[in-house]
Symmetry: C2
Subunit: 447 residues, 2 copies
């Protein structure tokens, strides 16, 4: 029997888990420090909850789960498979954490005190074509604050981004824009109905360049004069404050645009006051794909690597509307754990101790010293020092090889002398140095 796993899915070995958990734990600690509370939703949702929420393409990428029992009963299979699927599958796998969160808020509105901050670290599934860096099962790390329109929320998200990447040792730029400014621009050039087309095209500026963006805008039905009218936007210059001032005069009487500018002015002055370490940039070409954003939008890029956005998010004013609960404003971010993993790998910035399977290995010399070794292991483990006692009195060479293969930094020897003197001989594997210390000091030494 051949062993394999489905295309686009992954096994994680201990070293990969240690590195992934380092990322998740760092993010989680920051979420907690900012008083976000964890929730979890089921992996399986009713298909009716998921369908129609991610566009036509998204519906196709939903994993559908076959009904239990006689799923074929009363189903006419002489139809197109698109028609048959929802009849034989009532449930599907979670596609993202946003729609389940919206469903959660509406369903549990009576148990929630607003404003509500939740974080959620769970896998999602998409039947995408697998390719480098794109998987069919992957984790999302989302934090959202809902029920408060205050821009202090946006500020705190920026601070969280700053703290996460500072702790991970990744230099980043946070790009910020505002959907109201984009809407203002669409108004300005006389194409308010083309907002989505404009943002989709502008979003690609980094990847395809200005000429191609113009070509795409043409394809999407914008007229030459409308495209030309965008030039002042591309040509804004100076600091964020200066750009915002130029925009303010461009917008003149455009209420939506002016509101966006005002929001950005407030946010940038709040950010200035808290002095984040990361680089902050007003990027008017930032659009972000998703259409539910209505205010600030964020995207984070790591310096010195050519890997796409590693975190993103924004303000949405009507997320729960799809489930019948209107007017709940929220703002959130999502960290891309897989890409952060790639960045840390490329920068070679994972802490080395993540490669250690255990902190200490006690060599097993046989029954004579066994009771003493068990007591030693016990003391270390109760103090949360990850400890192995080799399970057999194997040859010394074999046990030492095991220690080095496993990346164990300390090997402990207990022979007749150590037992008699109530000591332990500690070998530091990196330096090869060996010291005999009193039993009572081993825990402090290895902690």
């Amino acid at each position: 029997m051949k062993c394999s796993i489905p295309k686009g899915t992954r096994d994680f070995l201990p070293i990969e888990m240690a590195r992934r958990n380092y990322i998740f734990d760092t993010i989680r600690q920051v979420f907690k420090a900012f008083a976000f509370e964890p929730i979890e939703t089921p992996s399986l949702e009713n298909l009716s909850t998921l369908m129609g929420k991610y566009g036509e393409e998204g519906d196709k990428l939903l994993f559908k789960v076959l009904n239990s029992g006689d799923f074929m009963k009363d189903v006419d299979f002489n139809q197109d498979y698109h028609k048959v699927a929802p009849q034989i599958c009532e449930r599907g796998l979670r596609y993202d954490l946003t729609v389940p969160f919206a469903r959660f808020v509406v369903q549990h509105r009576d148990q929630i005190t607003f404003p509500f901050r939740r974080y959620q670290l769970q896998p999602v599934w998409r039947a995408d074509r697998p390719q480098k860096g794109r998987y069919r099962e992957f984790y999302q790390c989302d934090a959202d604050m809902i029920g408060s329109p205050s821009l202090l929320n946006e500020l705190e998200l920026v601070q969280m981004i700053d703290l996460v990447f500072r702790r991970l040792g990744i230099e980043v730029t946070v790009k910020i824009n505002n959907r109201k400014i984009l809407a203002g621009i669409a108004d300005l050039i006389g194409a308010p109905d083309k907002l989505v087309d404009i943002t989709v095209a502008i979003d690609k500026l980094d990847k395809i360049g200005l000429d191609n963006v113009r070509a795409e805008l043409r394809e999407r039905g914008l007229e030459e004069q409308q495209i030309a009218a965008l030039d002042p936007i591309f040509n804004l210059s100076g600091t964020a404050t200066e750009k915002l001032a130029q925009l303010q005069s461009l917008f003149a009487n455009n209420a939506t645009g002016l509101k966006g500018v005002e929001e950005m002015q407030t946010l940038f002055s709040l950010i200035e006051a808290v002095k984040p370490q990361c680089h902050i940039e007003l990027d008017l070409t930032l659009a972000r794909g998703l259409n539910y954003y209505t205010g600030a939008i964020f995207e984070v890029k790591a310096h010195n690597v050519s890997i796409g956005s590693i975190c993103g998010g924004g303000r949405y004013d009507n997320l729960t509307g799809i489930f019948g609960m209107p007017d709940v404003s929220g703002v959130g971010i999502s960290f891309g754990a897989d890409r952060i993993y790639d960045v840390l790998t490329e920068l070679d910035a994972f802490p080395v101790e993540l490669g250690q399977s255990a902190r200490a290995l006690i060599i097993n010399f046989g029954d004579q010293e066994q009771a003493y070794c068990l007591q030693l292991a016990n003391e270390l483990r109760r103090a949360s020092v990850s400890t192995l006692y080799y399970p057999e009195a194997a040859k010394m060479k074999k046990q030492m090889e095991f220690a080095s293969k496993k990346g164990v930094p300390y090997v402990l020897f207990v022979g007749e002398t150590e037992v008699a003197n109530h000591t332990v001989t500690v070998k530091e594997m990196a330096s090869g140095q060996q010291n005999t210390v009193p039993f009572d000091q081993v825990v402090d030494l290895l902690k």
Copy 2:
């Protein structure tokens, strides 16, 4: 649109998450202290990996995932639905962590150093009929050590169980038996082919009593004299050591039975040497349902509650054999997080601080003190003190109500005076006590 989730699945609110994470973290910390390494396997496995591994009943309970694209192509739907299902579903959801672990070991044998200890905390899915305490999606917390036949491994599992439940504050009894002893008994009464029937029936002794067990053995085809021959087993008395001695003479020349007794004698003397706090019991009526166990078997019951087994496991000699890698002995345990949750709820033994959404709420009095408050929040958060700064300058009453609804233990006030004196006024919600302290001391006070 009505919001709901599939039958047998659950949303977890923050308070439930905090309690669940308390259980998971306690277990994880003990796993780590004993140098178990984390792995993860995909939620989706090829159905060929899962089918036939859990018996006929298990196959029915597998959640199957519909193939993407035109799943109907070339499929004859004029067949029984059992035949159709595997043709339209290549993948299924993980049913337990054991089979995927066996698959993982075989698939990654070249990347693993043996003996190998792994732990795995992941959800599993079963299309069981939902009922109280039984869900269609639930977490398993497994630790297994493979590649070593040493009974030191069994000892360490007992120590881990002891440490986990001591830290959770749950008094438990660990029941231990050995499948070789059960096999020896089946031999002894002349029914070696009925081992499974005997263990299944004996396993129910606690629930249905001796008379009903005898009746079931009769139904399962055992003869009266064979059933009567079991009596000496039910009548063993004394300490574990005494029972094992009686068994030893009963077994006389039965090699399997004697081997089982010897293993138990070694294990019990090892356990005695390390003096666990929990109660340890040799229970010859313990059988455990699963058939792959070949040596020691464990089951853990909490005192003072009538909730079934909260942890179980045992030694298996051929787990990876199903995937073509024979002779890998292993031993493992699985903690039942949902039942442990129920035990802690019934004993009212969750730490109270799990109900706190945040440790501190900074009251928002408006723009005047904003910069100072942001700095205060910053200091607290960097020190990992979970902190909220109310996002709007709402009425004092509203903010205080929010703090008490959220279970926040400390409310911080910053007014004109505090800013001028570089202080913060700290109110302890439980006592109502209020103190004004220097800014620099707030972190230490709340940490």
